[in-house]
C-alpha cells in the first residue's frame, strides 16, 4: 500500500499543505475552517482524511505537515491513529508530524488516559499538543499555532527548518521524559 513520503513530490510555488487525520469529521472541518481564516503569506491547502493510506487515484500536492487528531473520549480514534501511523514513512517524523489531543477538558468523558497519548507521542518523537477543538477560542489559537508550524515545515520561514523546530520543542519538555 502507498506510504506517505515527505520528499517524493516537488513543492508548489508558495504553497503549504497540511493533512489532518482523525475520526471526528466535524472537529476536523471546524479546525480546517479556522486555519483557512488565518492571515498567511503562503497559500494554504488543508486536506482532511479519516485514516491512512490515502487513495492513490487523487492528484494531490506534496504534504508538508501531518497532524493526527486523537479524541480522548474515544478509544476508536486512538486505534485509528495507530493504524494510520503505519502508512507514514519514517523520514516524516523529523519534525513534520504532530499529535493533537482533544477532549482533555471534560475529564468525566475521557476513555483514554492522558499518559497513553503522551507515550504515543514520545515513541514517535513528535510534539503533542492539547486543545479542546470544541471550544471556539482554543480552536482559533491552535489554528494560528498550526499555521506557523506549517509555514516552517514548508520551508517558508528563512533560517528555521522543521528539524530545528522539533529539537527546540523537545528540549523544553523537561527532564522527566528523558528518564524513560
Amino acid at each position: 500500500m502507498s506510504v506517505l513520503r515527505p520528499l517524493d513530490k516537488l513543492p508548489g510555488l508558495n504553497t503549504a499543505t497540511i493533512l489532518l487525520v482523525g475520526t471526528e469529521d466535524a472537529l476536523l472541518q471546524q479546525l480546517a475552517d479556522s486555519m483557512l481564516k488565518e492571515d498567511c503569506a503562503s497559500e494554504l491547502k488543508v486536506h482532511l482524511a479519516k485514516s491512512l493510506p490515502l487513495p492513490s487515484s487523487v492528484n494531490r500536492p506534496r504534504i508538508d505537515l501531518i497532524v493526527f487528531v486523537v479524541n480522548l473520549h474515544s478509544k476508536y480514534s486512538l486505534q485509528n491513529t495507530e493504524e494510520s501511523l503505519r502508512h507514514v514513512d519514517a523520514s516524516f517524523f523529523l519534525g513534520k508530524v504532530c499529535f493533537l489531543a482533544t477532549g482533555a477538558g471534560r475529564e468525566s468523558h475521557c476513555s483514554i488516559h492522558r499518559h497513553t497519548v503522551v507515550k504515543l507521542a514520545h515513541t514517535y518523537q513528535s510534539p503533542l499538543l492539547y486543545c479542546d477543538l470544541e471550544v471556539e477560542g482554543f480552536r482559533a489559537t491552535m489554528a494560528q499555532r498550526l499555521v506557523r508550524v506549517l509555514q516552517i515545515c514548508a520551508g517558508h520561514v528563512p533560517g528555521v527548518s522543521a528539524l530545528n523546530l522539533l529539537s527546540l520543542l523537545r528540549s523544553s519538555e523537561g527532564p522527566s521524559l528523558e528518564d524513560l
Binding site: 475520526t23 473520549h73 474515544s74 478509544k75 476508536y76 480514534s77 486505534q79 475529564e107 468525566s108 468523558h109 475521557c110 476513555s111 483514554i112 488516559h113 499518559h115 503522551v118 507515550k119 514520545h122 529539537s167 528540549s171 527532564p175 522527566s176 521524559l177 528523558e178 528518564d179 524513560l180
Partner: protein, 322 residues
C-alpha cells in the same frame, strides 16, 4: 549547535531537600508526592485484586448489611480541620440545631417530622429497631489512603470519600454544615469511562461462590438530537472465563489486561452488529460485586469485596482532591 541533554553530573547542592531534613514538613512531603506522581507517568498502573481472605476477618456481614443494596452518591471531601471522634455527641447536637433552623427558613416544610440525627463512628452502628423511617444516610470513609494521610499535618482528619443516600436537599444542608464547621469542601465524584473499565475488570476478576446479577455494560452514543444507549449483558460466568483467559500475573491487574478484556468485548460486539463500541462512552458497569454509574452513583452488592470497592473509590476521591 550543541544539542541539549539532561545534565549528567549535577553538583551536590542540587540534591533533594528531604536529605537535609530529618522530619520534613507536610508541605515538603506534599511537593514530593506531587513530583513523584508527575514523573511516574509512563509506568503502566497496576492494582491488586482485592483478596477474599484478608477482607472477611474485618467485615461482619450483619453489621454492614445496611450499606449493601442501596444506591449511594459519591462525593470527594478535602481533609477536615479539627475534627475529633470524641466530640461526636456535640456534633450531633449542633447538626440537629442547624438542620431545624434551615428547615424553618422555609426551604422544606415537613409537618410532624422528628429529626433524629445521629453521628456515629465505625464501631457503633445503628441498632436494628429504630422508630421512624430513615430519611437520609451519609457516611465518610477512608480505606488505604496512605498517600494523602502522610502529607497532611496532625490537625486534619482525612476522610476523602463521602457516600450519601437520600434526598438531595438533605445532602446539601448537611454538606453546608460540615463545610462551615470543619473548613472542608465537598465535590461530586464523577467516574470517567477509563475508571469504569478498570472497575469492570477488577470486579469480574473477583471470585464469587454464586452470582446474583448478570454482568451488564451501558454505553452512550454521542449523536444528535438524542443520545442513543447501548446495553450489553453477559452471563457472569462467561465474563469470568474471558477474564481468566486474559489474566496473566496472579494477584495483580495491569493496564494491558484491562484493555484486552474490553477490546474482546468490543470486537465481539462489532462482529455481530458492526458497531464500534470503542467510539462510544462507557456510562454504567454492573457486576455481581457492585455497580457504578458515571455520575458518581454506586451500589455495592457483595459484602466480601466491600473493602476492595471502597479502596478503589477512595483512590479516585484522593485523585480528585489532588
Amino acid at each position: 549547535m550543541d544539542s541539549y541533554s539532561a545534565p549528567e553530573s549535577t553538583p551536590s547542592a542540587s540534591s533533594r531537600p528531604e536529605d537535609y531534613f530529618i522530619g520534613a514538613t507536610p508541605l515538603q512531603k506534599r511537593l514530593e508526592s506531587v513530583r513523584k506522581q508527575s514523573s511516574f507517568i509512563l509506568t503502566p498502573p497496576r492494582r491488586k485484586i482485592p483478596q477474599c481472605s484478608q477482607l472477611q476477618e474485618d467485615v461482619d456481614p450483619q453489621k454492614v448489611a445496611f450499606l449493601l443494596h442501596k444506591q449511594w452518591t459519591l462525593y470527594s471531601l478535602t481533609p477536615l480541620y479539627k475534627f475529633s471522634y470524641s466530640n461526636l455527641k456535640e456534633y450531633s447536637r449542633l447538626l440537629n440545631a442547624f438542620i431545624v433552623a434551615e428547615k424553618q427558613k422555609g426551604l422544606a416544610v415537613e409537618v410532624g417530622e422528628d429529626f433524629n440525627i445521629k453521628i456515629v463512628s465505625k464501631s457503633q452502628l445503628p441498632s436494628e429497631n429504630r422508630e421512624g423511617k430513615v430519611l437520609w444516610t451519609g457516611w465518610f470513609c477512608c480505606v488505604f489512603g496512605d498517600s494523602l494521610l502522610e502529607t497532611v499535618s496532625e490537625d486534619f482528619t482525612c476522610l476523602p470519600l463521602f457516600l450519601a443516600n437520600g434526598a438531595e436537599s438533605n445532602t446539601a444542608i448537611i454538606g453546608t454544615w460540615f463545610q462551615k464547621t470543619f473548613d472542608c469542601y465537598f465535590s461530586p465524584l464523577a467516574i470517567n469511562a477509563f475508571n469504569l473499565s478498570w472497575m469492570a475488570a477488577m470486579w469480574t476478576a473477583c471470585k464469587m461462590d454464586h452470582y446474583v446479577a448478570t454482568t451488564e455494560f451501558l454505553w452512550s452514543v454521542p449523536c444528535s438530537p438524542q443520545s442513543l444507549d447501548i446495553s450489553f449483558a453477559i452471563h457472569p460466568e462467561d465474563a469470568k472465563a474471558l477474564w481468566d483467559s486474559v489474566h496473566k500475573t496472579p494477584g495483580e491487574v495491569t493496564q494491558e489486561e484491562v484493555d484486552l478484556f474490553m477490546d474482546c468485548l468490543y470486537s465481539h460486539f462489532h462482529r455481530h452488529f458492526k458497531i464500534h463500541l470503542s467510539a462510544t462512552r462507557l456510562v454504567r458497569v454492573s457486576t455481581s460485586v457492585a455497580s457504578a454509574h458515571t455520575d458518581g452513583k454506586i451500589k455495592i452488592l457483595c459484602h466480601k469485596y466491600l473493602i476492595g470497592v471502597l479502596a478503589y473509590l477512595t483512590e479516585l476521591a484522593i485523585f480528585q482532591i489532588e
